[in-house]
């Protein structure tokens, strides 16, 4: 038994047991954003969602968007590249904060 069980994903809607109108609004918004072709295709949106799923390290989302990517015609190269985009962003976000470190060093006369 772990905190994350794949079968729990199917129970997502149960969160709407209380204040159901809020969950209904969420699902309507969510489905409008990722469930339909718009300025971006569903395939492109699923790849973005897969990258975000990894950045946020959400097992439910990784499971769901691996399937969504495959069911929208993506291949392993595209899916892996999307994850690298997320990883590169995370690395870049870490590294760009080194400017803050350098600012602090400068404040202390160390740079």
């Amino acid at each position: 038994m772990s905190y994350y069980e794949s079968k729990d994903l199917k129970r997502f809607a149960e969160v709407g047991q209380f204040r159901p109108e809020l969950m209904e609004k969420f699902f309507a918004y969510y489905n409008a954003v990722v469930g339909e072709d718009g300025a971006l295709t569903k395939r492109e949106k699923a790849l973005i969602a897969l990258a975000v799923s990894h950045v946020k390290q959400c097992p439910y989302c990784i499971d769901a968007y691996t399937t969504a990517c495959l069911e929208n015609g993506s291949n392993p190269e595209q899916m892996t590249e999307a994850i690298h985009v997320g990883a590169a962003m995370e690395a870049g976000i870490n590294l760009v904060h080194a400017v803050q470190m350098q600012n602090a060093m400068r404040d202390k006369g160390a740079l």
Partner: protein, 342 residues
């Protein structure tokens, strides 16, 4: 008469997910429509042994349609002008010693003849005789066959994972040879259709988007052309079912198919317009039912090609079980791809 009947007697067939009940709830009464296609499975012998094959075909299988059954198939075609199409499948049907004779005879009767061609059979030696089949593209073109070929993806990884190492490269070489004799080329009238099916337990993407990807990738990277792409759903039977059970994924896959049940797709399912004939002459509602040993029934009795009566077949009840959800999920799945057009 009830148009769809559940196959209660076939102990191995699951009715747990209630296909007939789903039809009932959607107020669908799916009677056979105009039966215009005779699909004949002439051999289970194949040069390949693909992980998803619903026929369990392989180089070790030896089932072959007999001369007597072949003659009767041709008699039935002759006597029933409404049967406009002969769809020849297997195994690899080209490995049957009478394959070319069947094609020539059906074409002489003026029928459209389709062959489920696995592409690699042109390049591999015959598994039994060792003979070369490299003249197949010329034969197909001479006869004006409609060629329908499985290519699970426009890249090697998914294709080879499903159909075996090296199959992708061989398939491309075979498509190149078909293109050279005119298949897929504008103005020739020679049709080459490719078939996509998912490499695992997920539903196919939209047929139109996959077709656009295939056309772009095969042309840009390999200079190859084809006419249409048919997107098929993996049927949860035989080898694919074994794979699902091994990965503990059968229940999830069935729930996915049931959840994607689409009444519009159900209306176009292929069992309404074709009759499937086994190598031994037994008649079935479709090739999947054939592989599950679920014969079609007229007045409660099975039928063979030797007692083929269109009127009686038109009034029969189609035999259904849980695997039928594979044909009704999403945009639907049939031998000709989606059952609803996007």
């Amino acid at each position: 008469m009830e148009a769809i009947s559940t196959a209660q007697k076939a102990a191995s067939l699951s009715q747990r997910f209630g296909f007939a009940e789903h039809l009932g709830r959607a107020a669908l009464d799916l009677k056979p429509s105009v039966i215009d296609t005779l699909q004949i499975n002439i051999t289970k012998l194949c040069n390949q042994a693909c992980v998803h094959c619903h026929v369990d075909a392989s180089p070790r299988r030896r089932e072959m349609m007999s001369d007597a059954v072949i003659q009767q198939v041709l008699e039935v075609l002759k006597a029933n002008p409404s049967l406009q199409k002969l769809d020849i499948t297997g195994g690899a049907p080209e490995l049957h010693p009478r394959f070319r004779m069947i094609v020539e005879a059906a074409r002489a009767l003026g029928r459209t003849v389709m062959v489920r061609h696995n592409l690699t059979v042109t390049l591999d030696p015959h598994p039994i005789s060792g003979e070369s089949l490299q003249d197949l593209p010329d034969f197909f073109a001479e006869q004006g066959l409609v060629v329908i070929s499985s290519l699970p993806y426009h890249q090697s990884y998914f294709t080879d994972k499903q159909r075996g190492a090296g199959v992708f490269d061989k398939s491309l070489e075979s498509i190149r040879r078909l293109n050279q004799v005119g298949y897929g080329q504008p103005g020739t009238g020679l049709e080459l259709h490719l078939v996509y099916n998912p490499v695992g337990a997920f539903l196919p993407a939209s047929q139109a988007s996959l077709e656009a990807d295939y056309k772009q990738e095969l042309w840009q990277h390999h200079g190859l052309v084809f006419n249409q792409l048919f997107a098929l759903t993996n049927m949860p039977i035989h080898r694919f079912k074994v794979q699902l059970k091994k990965n503990d994924g059968y229940e999830n896959y069935m729930e996915k198919l049931v959840g994607a049940f689409n009444p519009s797709a159900a209306q176009g399912i292929m069992c309404r317009s074709l009759i499937s004939v086994a190598y031994d002459g037994q008649l079935y509602d479709c090739d999947f039912n054939q592989m599950l040993n679920l014969p079609l029934k007229c007045h409660g009795e099975s039928r063979s090609i030797f007692d083929f009566h269109t009127t009686e077949l038109q009034e029969r009840s189609i035999q259904v079980a849980d695997h039928c959800f594979g044909c009704t999920a999403g945009a639907g799945s049939s031998c000709g791809g989606n059952t609803i057009k996007q």
